[in-house]
Symmetry: C2
Subunit: 236 residues, 2 copies
């Protein structure tokens, strides 16, 4: 399976989950047909190269939330500060996040943290936090001429607690983070980095006019942010 520039389509097999299978049994295709089929496939891929990266309709709120969480490489984290002179006050800070490769996110925002970081020190006292991500971080809002504060420039907010992950989940977190943030592999080992995630208790979504909407963690994790190639071809 080789990724295209969209990071989620393949030329050998379009969709592993079985929506479109273009495999041809060996010896069943004439030598003239094979290049034609490949050509047709490339034309289709060129025509709809990044369909799966279109934002879902705004009424599919959970899907929009998953889409934004997967598109963004970093988040702003709010904590309650434990540092003078702002002890007890809110504190905002930027952190790299990843829920997996673009197009294949799990929805879980993983982070790579060190206790040397002041927001992480806040989390040691009170793990309650909030992560916000906005499509203003991508080219989407600029391309669509949406102001960063416009609800059309979709942004999401997670409420929950930030917890360390270990064992097999640390392996998952490492794969998700180092895949999208390769520089992390070289960060100084004496900083005692550890993997963490936000345990989401509530998802807030601003993706259209009419005020903020909420999504339960259950609906958020059930949602499919990217339209399959099959459904795109047959639903227009």
């Amino acid at each position: 399976m080789t990724s295209s520039s969209c990071g989620h389509m393949t030329t050998s097999q379009i969709n592993k989950s079985g929506h479109v299978e273009l495999s041809v049994p060996r010896g069943k295709m004439s030598t003239n047909m094979a290049p034609t089929a490949v050509l047709i496939l490339f034309v289709v891929l060129l025509a709809f190269p990044c369909n799966s990266h279109k934002i879902p309709p705004h009424e599919d709120v959970a899907r929009v939330a998953r889409f934004v969480a997967n598109q963004c490489d970093w988040a702003s984290m709010a904590t309650i500060s434990t540092h003078d002179p702002i002890k007890g006050q809110p504190f905002s800070n930027a952190f790299s996040v990843s829920d997996g490769p673009v197009g294949y996110g799990s929805g879980v925002p993983y982070m790579y943290l060190t206790l040397m970081e002041i927001s992480v020190q806040d989390l040691q006292v009170n793990p309650q936090a909030s992560l916000s991500m906005s499509l203003a971080q991508t080219d989407f809002c600029k391309n669509e001429s949406y102001d960063p504060q416009s609800p059309l420039c979709a942004h999401i907010i997670f409420s929950g607690t930030v917890v360390e992950v270990n064992g097999t989940e640390a392996v998952t977190a490492k794969k998700a983070l180092f895949g999208r943030h390769p520089e992390m592999a070289d960060w100084p080992s004496d900083h005692n980095w550890f993997f963490a995630k936000m345990n989401i208790t509530q998802v807030w979504v601003l993706d259209y006019f009419g005020g903020i909407k909420t999504v339960t963690p259950e609906d958020y994790f059930k949602a499919t942010p990217y339209k399959s190639f099959h459904s795109f071809l047959f639903s227009g």
Copy 2:
């Protein structure tokens, strides 16, 4: 005064504060000299078109803070939530900000707010807030291949209170905001928008290795984020 593509240089007068004055009294220049002078001026402008938009050296912490504050169009605001089920917990949200035109910022982060917004409702109960801005919001970190969480991808955090501004300061805020966020002029009037700013009590800067640094509001407002054309020409 006409802006160049950098938004801060002029061809008629380079620097209003008097660093470089290229005005020529009428009738004092021969018809042959005028095109030559204009040509030289254009060559200089083409050679150093965006010098003023270079990030200041990391050790000039206050200048870096002013630079980031002026380059970013939006900020993440942390508040203490007043909303169930996260009452008392930190809450992060995205807001458009402006301290003035790019290249001419005052350092004051102005915002255009409505009480219909849930973070603004939080501020009514507790105006203490934190605003974070990162060069990850611009092309800088991508172009330099800096991870969003790297301290080299400079980010700043303001602590303080968010207060409404009125009178002449509201006029200043409107000019700063509507200049960089023209869409705001058309936002629905029944939302009762008002102008606000963060009264900064502390500035936190992450712009290099070695941990977070702090800047007093006094040093922050005294700093000059952009190198003048004059000092660039004569200091190399």
